[in-house]
Symmetry: C2
């Protein structure tokens, strides 16, 4: 399938497909499904409106694995609706018992308590145990994203025997690219890639080719740190250990790609002065969006009270020289924009580990210089712009001088405050553009009005 | 190696390691290297200051593959400095000839023309050809990130024979998890994972187990689209075809993790009103940072001229009621913050494909409602806040009313303008917070002053 054919007219294709579903053209649909992947079917189901159509489509493929995989790819609300409406009890059991353990845990974690209990009765005892184990880990930790379907091999096996074990015992394991060599207690002795096994001579024992210098993570490690391990070492999978040093799961690169994307999305939303959304934009209700956004707007408005009070305290000055008020937004916007630039860069660099907590002084020095250079340029531009509008050189001098100060201070605040926040164990994104803008407004306006006072006396 | 031991005191460990390097404690260092991965050595080299120390450390390991891998992980400036200062000509040739083809192409692309020419003389003819081929692709396309070291197998091979071929011919291929089945012309017939090969019976022919419904990309496809394919299908590798439909390379998940991170970083920097940096924050010079930031700040300051002119046009009103000026920053900041929230969410959703170009109206309707609800809350808060500061109910009514208008219009502008930009084939990030703030300032202030005029007549 060519990505260009496949991606751009996806919408048109989906519309035609939906028509076939509505008209129950089973044979045509089955032929199309042969050309598609489970995730494609999941995407079409997400676009169907009627629950009957959804159930019809997902139960249509003859390959049950295909059904399970398509189900895994669905968003939670569709999963719940569909599982409640499939009348074939055997199929429900099959789906719940054969889903990947991490996807299953996510699904159960989102269900209401009574539905979860009712559905968990359909699980085989070992799957139930597996589920309960996974559910105890926090969502954003290694334990919360791992699957329990790892391959454990005995160190005395030869390469040939290992291949036979993989062929027979692990036909359905999804992640056989990385094998763990474990002892009978489940402790990790070493790690092997399928590549190591393939390229070794058939008679070689695993213990002679396994990598014993294994990088692993504990179940409680934050998912962002796990992602950093993958990024740094280019691993396709890492073992997850519990606090007793036993292997309990595996995390694979595809889970990590989702983590990288999810963390970046969250950081962006937080930089944009909103609490991160749990679902995609359209899947989040208006009520939830308001909730995620309102608090920050109120906080920022209240911090703005200080700004208003400052302007009020200069109202005698404004009465003498009203044109001073024309450029209040220039001062506050320029400060905000410069602060946003610095804080966005530093927040991202902190997340990527390019800037460390010990770098406060280095960042400060750099931003001081950058802010000063930017400020000089903006001062000249602001001077000309305001002279053109107000025709009062005193006001323009005032604006130019205040712009240098504002730019320097907001560049420094934007650079340093996120690092300070992280030092105080706060999320650095609280020090994003909007808050920094509001903070630097205060200094910028004071300098603006004080400069005006001095200049008015001079001229 | 435990990630917690490994990651947190990395700095301390590195400082001790650097001491060993400076004192040329070869035996101690060699012992430590056994516990480390090539990327760890690369990170230590990045922290060394003297070129002699860098060359000493990178040439120390006895395992030449380790040296090549560590070299691949270095940033360009260190690569160039080191390659120029290794006096062992054989080692230079070895590094250049055995580097992964994509890393090598990146390295040569960054070199100045004459250095690149001189170094390319050290390449074997087939490696030189490979390099020239890769260099013709644009940096951010599938061709620019692929490697040419893919495995091509004949469809008539049995599983057993295929394993033998992999063992003998592809011992050094990095990416043997995905095998391409090709004809003698190099056209793609199907795809196989190493897992498919392992779990099949030894006598099975590849043509009977290969997946013929292959998803592939062309060399010219943008890397962000390639990343979307990986995200959607959870592939570990995809084939890259040239315009003659021949397989010319492979892209693996580790390249894609870098792409996902890089694209998110670029988008964040652009949302933060800066041009994206090519290097990390500290590796970018002050001069370059000023260049990346100045243009947007100037543009925004010039757009702010309109805001200033609007305030000027109401100066008679301000002369009568100076307290109106106290709340100018409240109007502009609230508009900016609301607009930033909406635009950041929509820009990210567009990048993830959650919001489509056809969704303008859906977004508008949602933002209209959200903006109105947020506006009502903020109006009440703003009313109370301004009454407390100004003690003039007329001003507070004016502010409250204008806040509703500003919030609604900036939510809508923030939601819709990025989609419109994308429709016009512009980068949606141009419509990020700072520009939207400045645009909505205009409407917000007009409403504020016009409301004031009306209310002043009423009361």
């Amino acid at each position: 399938m060519d990505i260009n054919k496949e991606f751009f007219p996806e919408k048109i294709f989906n519309i035609e497909f939906i028509e076939l579903v509505k008209n129950r053209k089973s044979n045509d649909i089955k032929k199309l499904i042969e050309e598609l992947y489970p995730v494609d079917i999941a995407h079409i189901i997400e676009e169907l409106e009627e629950i009957d159509d959804k159930v019809y489509l997902i139960t249509l493929p003859e390959d049950k694995d295909f059904i399970v995989e398509a189900f895994e790819e669905l968003e939670f609300l569709n999963q719940e609706e569909i599982i409640k409406n499939i009348h074939d009890r055997k199929l429900v059991s099959l789906i719940l018992n054969t889903m990947a353990s991490d996807d299953r845990a996510d699904f159960f974690a989102s269900l209401s308590k009574d539905v979860a209990e009712r559905l968990s009765e359909k699980l085989l005892p070992e799957e139930k145990k597996d589920l309960d184990e996974l559910l105890q880990y926090e969502e954003n930790t290694a334990g919360g994203i791992m699957t329990t379907e790892f391959v454990g091999l005995n160190k005395e096996l030869t390469v040939e025997e290992a291949i036979a074990v993989l062929r027979n015992k692990y036909k359905n394991a999804e992640t056989i690219y990385v094998e763990f060599v474990v002892d009978t207690q489940g402790s990790l002795l070493g790690i092997l890639s399928l590549r190591d096994i393939i390229i070794a001579e058939p008679g070689t024992k695993l213990k002679d080719i396994m990598e014993t210098n294994v990088i692993y993570v504990y179940t409680y490690v934050d998912q962002e740190e796990v992602a950093n391990v993958f990024q740094k070492y280019n691993f396709s999978a890492v073992p997850v250990l519990d606090t007793n040093e036993k292997v309990v799961g595996i995390i694979t690169f595809d889970d990590i790609m989702d983590v990288i994307e999810e963390e970046a999305t969250e950081d962006m939303q937080k930089i944009g002065a909103s609490f991160p959304l749990e679902e995609s934009y359209f899947d989040t209700s208006v009520f939830d969006l308001v909730k995620k956004r309102l608090l920050w707007l109120c906080v920022l408005l209240l911090v703005g009270t200080v700004t208003s009070s400052i302007i009020r305290s200069y109202d005698n000055l404004l009465a003498i020289l009203i044109p001073l008020s024309y450029f209040i937004p220039i001062i506050t916007d320029t400060g905000g924009n410069t602060g946003t630039q610095s804080s966005t860069m530093i927040i991202r660099s902190l997340a990527l580990g390019e800037v460390q907590l010990t770098d406060t002084f280095r960042v400060l020095r750099k931003e001081l210089l950058i802010g000063f250079i930017l400020g000089c340029f903006l001062a000249v531009l602001g001077f000309m712009q305001s002279l053109f509008i107000s025709k009062i050189p005193e006001v323009s001098f005032t604006l130019g001088f205040a712009l240098i100060f504002t730019t320097v201070s907001s560049a420094c605040a934007g650079g340093v405050l996120p690092i300070m926040a992280k030092k105080l164990k706060l999320d650095p994104t609280v020090m994003s553009g909007p808050l920094i803008s509001t903070i630097v407004d205060i200094g910028g306006l004071i300098i603006y009005f004080e400069t005006a006072k001095i200049i008015l006396k001079i001229f």
